[in-house]
């Protein structure tokens, strides 16, 4: 049993849904993403952990303590729901200091902690505003600061990025990453978005129909063949690597086996790269072009999607391309054909 959050043999039934024998072990200080489609039971599991209800079977252990029958206020697990649920009658500062007020923390300490979080999350200018005057991204950061202020044993985030636009989403991902790096608080993050999971998680638990189907690191999931039924990243072209060098605006990412992928990012260290299969060009002979990335390999799998064909290439790194049916036949591609997959550095998304 670790010192993080553990769920042991948890089961609970509702008239039309059940959580079935859930077992999870979230290491202290780790970022765990619970990934599943709508209706898979991920939010119900999160609610059991925070203490919204007592499951009929099983235990929830936090830092070695069985909290299964403790009320939410005794568990020290901060919950940040999908729609933020800021306290509308309170200013941003009062929202962030709410839990500290409830615990009777001295004003000086409250202000110290809220100032630190306000600075960390870039919301110092919002302290005197009320939630109704905040944008989605601002509300999300206030919600996160409020959850962190009480220095919980874990933060439980329910679909934190589902209600923000794409640009804000990337900003919040950066904040989540930075906050986790600085605080090393244990995070359990629920989402249905695979790329979000890949971008943030140390480990991912896949939940479907109320059951945990698999737990692993993003790298482990990204290396599974997409045809396997338990594959979650399948044809998403998720590639794990390390930024080893920078040349002007380009980052050179070592993705293993001596292969370097070029991307545009200012990130350093471990990164997860994503290339949409639509942005991968297949060539048999390797034409000269401005594209910075080339991967040699052979056609391993072909899936007919009607107007398009998905081609899985096995080689230096596994990669999928989505090409038209006409191109596929004109190029006379077969399983085992030697090809070069080409994509631009600008089409590489750094998660």
């Amino acid at each position: 049993m670790g010192t993080g959050v553990a769920v042991e043999n948890l089961s609970n039934s509702w008239p039309s849904f059940s959580l079935k024998n859930i077992n999870l072990d979230v290491a202290e200080g780790s970022y765990f993403v619970l990934l599943g489609p709508t209706g898979s039971g991920k939010t119900l599991l999160l609610e059991a952990i925070v203490g919204a209800y007592s499951p009929s079977e099983g235990r929830i252990i936090v830092a070695g303590e069985d909290v299964s029958h403790l009320p939410p206020e005794k568990r020290r697990l901060s919950y940040a729901p999908q729609n933020y649920l800021l306290f509308e009658n309170m200013t941003v500062r009062r929202n962030i200091e709410y839990g500290l007020h409830a615990k009777g923390v001295e004003e000086q300490e409250r202000q110290k902690r809220s100032k630190h979080l306000l600075d960390m999350l870039g919301i110092s200018h919002l302290v005197d505003r009320f939630p109704r005057n905040l944008s989605g991204g601002e509300r999300q950061r206030v919600s996160l600061a409020r959850a962190l202020a009480v220095e919980p044993r874990a933060v439980l985030l329910d679909e934190p990025l589902s209600a923000v636009d794409a640009e804000t989403k990337n900003m919040i991902i950066d904040y989540l990453r930075a906050v986790h790096t600085e605080t090393r608080v244990t995070v359990i993050h629920v989402t249905h978005d695979r790329l979000e999971a890949a971008a943030l998680a140390d480990r991912i638990g896949v939940i479907r129909d109320g059951e945990i189907q698999e737990v692993g690191s993003p790298l482990e999931f990204s290396q599974k063949p997409y045809s396997k039924p338990d594959s979650i990243f399948g044809s998403d072209n998720l590639i794990s690597g390390n930024v080893i060098r920078r040349e002007a605006d380009l980052a050179l990412v070592d993705v293993g086996a001596g292969k370097i992928i070029e991307a545009i990012t200012d990130r350093t260290g471990r990164v997860m790269l994503h290339v949409s299969p639509e942005n991968v060009v297949i060539s048999k002979h390797g034409v000269e072009s401005s594209a910075r990335n080339r991967v040699n390999g052979t056609v391993a799998e072909v899936t007919d999607l009607g107007a398009t064909v998905r081609v899985r290439i096995s080689g230096e790194i596994p990669i999928s391309a989505l090409i038209t049916r006409r191109s596929f036949f004109e190029m006379k591609l077969n399983i085992g054909s030697e090809v070069i997959a080409i994509f631009k550095a600008t089409s590489v998304e750094v998660l």
Binding site: E47, V50, G51, A52, P71, P72, E73, R75, R76, L77, S78, Y79, A80, P81, N83, L85, F87, E88, N89, Y98, G99, H101, A102, K103, R146, A147, A149, V150, P152, L156
Partner: protein, 232 residues
């Protein structure tokens, strides 16, 4: 206006304002926990309690008066018990308030119940996950979210109580509240004031009624102001 200088009229209007106010206060004290319970939890017997609360809206108020007097009348079970302690539950201020609570507290309970139903149940969960007790959560998160409904319920209860006549005729005819006085004046002296040899026999049912209309209009304006604030 004669009604303003007539002691009987002033006294009955004051009694109406006082008993209706007391009724609204009792309704708030009962309505918050009851409305919270009905709005938040699903439990066996919930529908029965909900129906009992709504009954006063469904039955003629003279019937409500009969029902109350068969329980609280001085010769009846509960009434006799209180009489033993020197408390009259009929024809007394206490009887008026008891009757008014029965026929009008429903508005307070239902307002709170609907407000609680409209609140996201996770709001309280967030608060408690931050370390706040359920009591701290109630007073700092729940109440600030529903207070306008509580005020609206109190105003509606007050307005309904101040207009009650049917049940009071049977349960607490005396001392007369304004609605009963208006009826008495109308039945005894007609619509207008009646003075004989310098003695005021009636300040005029229409005059007392006009005063009550002004007072209730004031309450109605207050209700609308609260409603407007609720929408913003």
């Amino acid at each position: 206006m004669l009604a303003l200088t007539n002691a009987e009229a002033v006294s009955s209007i004051a009694l109406t304002i006082y008993t209706s106010g007391l009724t609204a206060a009792v309704a708030v004290v009962l309505g918050i926990p009851l409305g919270y319970l009905l709005g938040k939890y699903q439990f066996r017997g919930r529908s029965l309690i909900d129906s009992i609360i709504e009954i006063p809206l469904m039955i003629p108020h003279t019937v409500a008066g009969i029902a109350l007097i068969t329980i609280f009348g001085s010769a009846e079970l509960v009434g006799a018990f209180f009489k033993g302690y020197g408390l009259r539950l009929t024809n007394d201020t206490l009887g008026i308030v008891l009757t008014l609570v029965f026929v009008s507290a429903t508005y307070s309970v239902k307002q709170v119940e609907e407000a609680i139903k409209a609140l996201d149940p996770k709001l309280e969960l967030v608060s408690r996950s931050l370390g706040a007790s359920s009591t701290f959560t109630f007073f700092n998160v729940t109440m600030p979210s529903i207070w306008r409904s509580v005020v609206t319920g109190a105003i509606l209860t007050w307005a309904r109580a101040s207009s009650e006549v049917g049940a009071l005729f049977i349960m607490a005819y005396y001392p007369p509240v304004a609605s009963i006085l208006i009826w008495n004046l109308y039945a005894g002296y007609g619509l207008h004031e009646s003075v004989s040899n310098g003695v005021v026999l009636s300040p005029g049912a229409v005059n007392v009624a006009a005063l009550m209309i002004l007072i209730n209009l004031g309450i109605f304006v207050l209700f609308k102001l609260v409603q407007r604030k609720r929408q913003t």
